[in-house]
């Protein structure tokens, strides 16, 4: 039972490179927290500081009520699963699992019971007498998870545990790990997880909450739905969601009604967006619209963006349209059953963004200026 509190955590490496710039993060007891971000954003560095494998050069980490900054990894009550499994190559699976308990000089029968229990949960019972090199990738990863599990730690740390597996196996391991997390929680065991990945699908499907990082800074911490619907800045908006959110330069005019100039064409917006908006008149903004949040406008409708379809991808259940509007390229996703080739006349198409799903970002700082204070629309914007 433990929560994890990180306060103003900093990391300066030996070569004076500052990898982590004072981040603060709370992970509640039993929560599945995912750290996600592009390569090199210091996810691993942060995780390794929690584990105690990397010295902390500033700030504080608390596990439960203890400040663990100067504790050895073994005394922090954490378990870690590594990307390449890191099984001890000279020990049989059984001894890999039991190593931590043996170091604690637990009695033999207890170790035996614990090994059998963990092997049962992860279905590795028949592998106990094998050496790590005799295991497949998926089996090795299960052993690695078992080795973390057997310690009954306060906090589980995962560093991209699935990235060495093929897509199919990854999907099944994803489910296995989330199931395991639920099961631990039900059994009243400690189940706080910090899970590092650069794969947004993993992040969205597994995390109770997601912490999006960039260059050693936290961009946003939120649950998956909020992250998708209310990104706080252009980075999160672009990082979460597939295909990426369209981000186009625009400018704002508010005389009477709200008008936004997007890539040279002006669209009028109604009260929904106007009331959310905290940007001032004339300000340079970036407009963000997800590919899924366009609808195709009929010939007669005004107040739509007109563009040229340069490219069309049929994905089965949906169709991706690559549309050039002014100088900008937009991606539009249309469900296959709603796609009608007649909408495209002479390569030209007219698009209408769903107003309640339009985001406006300050072009300079990248912060979302269309969130307003109320949180009402999070649920309204299903997808």
């Amino acid at each position: 039972m433990a929560r994890l509190q990180i306060r103003n955590l900093e990391k300066v490496y030996g070569n004076a490179f500052k990898a982590v710039h004072g981040i603060s993060l709370d992970v509640n007891d039993g929560e599945f927290m995912v750290l996600v971000g592009p390569s090199g954003c210091a996810k691993s560095t942060t995780l390794r500081m929690i584990a105690g494998l990397e010295t902390i050069t500033g700030g504080e980490i608390r596990i439960g009520e203890r400040v663990v900054n100067n504790l050895a990894p073994g005394q922090r009550g954490v378990s870690m699963v590594f990307q390449n499994y890191a099984l001890y190559p000279h020990m049989k699976v059984r001894n890999n699992l039991a190593f931590s308990l043996k170091l604690k000089r637990r009695p033999k029968p207890e170790i035996e019971d614990a090994t059998r229990a963990v092997a049962g949960i992860l279905e590795i019972g028949e592998l106990l007498e094998r050496l790590p090199k005799q295991l497949s990738g998926g089996q090795a990863q299960r052993v690695a998870v078992g080795r973390a599990l057997i310690k009954k730690p306060d906090i589980f740390l995962f560093d991209e545990p699935l990235s060495n597996l093929d897509a199919k196996l990854r999907a099944s391991m994803r489910v296995r790990i989330t199931d395991l997390h639920k099961r631990l929680k039900q059994d009243g065991l400690s189940s706080t997880v910090v899970y590092v990945t650069h794969d947004q699908t993993e992040a969205m499907t597994m995390g109770d909450r997601i912490c999006v990082m960039k260059d050693g800074r936290i961009m946003q911490v939120a649950d998956p739905v909020t992250l998708y619907n209310r990104p706080e800045n252009t980075f999160v908006a672009g990082f979460i969601g597939s295909p990426e959110m369209n981000l186009v330069d625009g400018s704002l005019a508010r005389n009477g009604s709200l008008r936004i100039n997007i890539a040279g064409q002006t669209l009028a917006f109604g009260e929904d967006l106007a009331s959310r908006l905290t940007a001032r008149d004339g300000e340079a903004v970036t407009v963000g619209i997800r590919p899924q949040h366009f609808s195709i406008a009929g010939r007669g409708e005004d107040n739509a963006l007109e563009g040229r379809v340069s490219h069309l991808e049929f994905m089965g259940h949906e169709v991706y349209l690559h549309v050039e509007v002014g100088g900008a390229r937009l991606v539009v996703v249309v469900p296959s059953d709603r796609y009608d080739p007649a909408d495209i006349a002479d390569e030209r198409i007219r698009l209408k963004p769903r107003e309640e799903a339009v985001h406006v970002f300050d072009r300079e700082t990248g912060t979302n200026v269309s969130l307003s204070a109320t949180t009402g629309n999070a649920s309204k914007l299903g997808g």
């Binding site: 990894p73 870690m80 390449n84 001890y88």
Partner: protein, 301 residues
């Protein structure tokens, strides 16, 4: 077979014929290859074979019969060689060699592992300079340090003891071995050690339970090298040992050449053969690990 030929179309027969042709050429070429290899191998081994053969000849026959098969084999060389012209038998000399090799090899294994682990895995002030000086001693010709070392050991009162022969090595004095282990360790990912630390192992437990087993192939090579080099070391014992009862095998072989006016070649050869036995035995016993140790810099995933 006959049935098959009957069914086979003319085209198939053609293909069969070319395949058979190919197989024959292949067989001939590999026969040639093996013959050449065997011949070269024989040339390489010839001195050794001759040595073994000659150790069973009489003194006179060694010079009269150039072949390596003795005409009237005799154990004379072995019996007289073993007794030597000194009051000691070769048993004493083998025992002396053993007394030097054992602490030296074990000491080398332990000390070099600890030092290499330090260099490969920890950051400490002055690490670069210390490692550079370690490599520098590797490049230093042995001769340069002989005299200062001799004076040092003389002042310590270690002359005519085994100590100067093994103590420096047992304190990681052989830079080559440290270097070899450092290189080997660098090729092993740190993840396993980090996993062990998260599992609650301290530095020494990590070294003992995780690093040493992974280092095993390299460590075995280190021990083998040390064993063979010490077995063959002539200069060290020559400089530091003066009493005959402390001579190791390498010096004792020379002894039989000095003392008699007419050399008993067959006993010298017989004792040389015996001197080869330990090295060869150990080598063949550990061959598998030995070759693994020098050919792989690390572990496969």
């Amino acid at each position: 077979m006959a049935e098959q030929a009957a069914i086979a179309s003319p085209r198939d027969v053609d293909i069969d014929r070319t395949l058979a042709e190919g197989r024959r050429i292949h067989a001939v070429s590999s026969a040639v290859r093996y013959a050449v290899l065997a011949a070269v191998g024989f040339i390489m081994l010839y001195p050794l074979i001759w040595l073994i053969g000659a150790s069973f000849k009489t003194n006179a026959e060694i010079f009269s019969n150039p072949g390596f098969i003795p005409l009237n084999p005799t154990l004379d060389g072995y019996i007289r060689g073993w007794q030597t012209s000194t009051p000691y038998t070769f048993a004493t000399f083998f025992w002396n060699t053993f007394l030097i090799i054992l602490p030296k090899t074990i000491g080398t294994a332990i000390s070099c592992t600890a030092v290499a682990y330090g260099f490969a895995r920890f950051d400490f002030p002055g690490k670069r300079i210390l490692f550079a000086s370690l490599i520098a001693t590797l490049l230093l010709p042995n001769v340069v340090t002989r005299i200062p070392q001799y004076l040092l050991f003389r002042d310590m009162g270690w002359l005519d003891t085994f100590l100067p022969l093994w103590v420096p090595s047992a304190l990681a004095g052989d830079a080559f071995f440290v270097f070899m282990l450092v290189q080997f360790l660098r090729a092993i990912p740190r993840d396993m050690e980090e996993a062990a630390r998260v599992d609650g192992a301290n530095t020494w437990q990590t070294l003992l339970f995780i690093v040493v087993p992974m280092l095993a192939p390299a460590l075995i090579s280190v021990c083998l090298f040390q064993f063979m080099w010490t077995m063959n070391d002539f200069l060290g014992p020559l400089i530091y040992l003066s009493s005959v009862d402390k001579y190791p095998v390498s010096l004792a072989l020379k002894l039989s050449i000095d003392t008699t006016e007419a050399f008993q070649w067959n006993s010298i050869l017989a004792m040389s053969v015996l001197a080869l036995v330990p090295s060869l035995t150990v080598f063949f016993l550990a061959q598998k690990y030995f070759i693994e140790g020098i050919s792989t810099g690390g572990l496969k995933g």
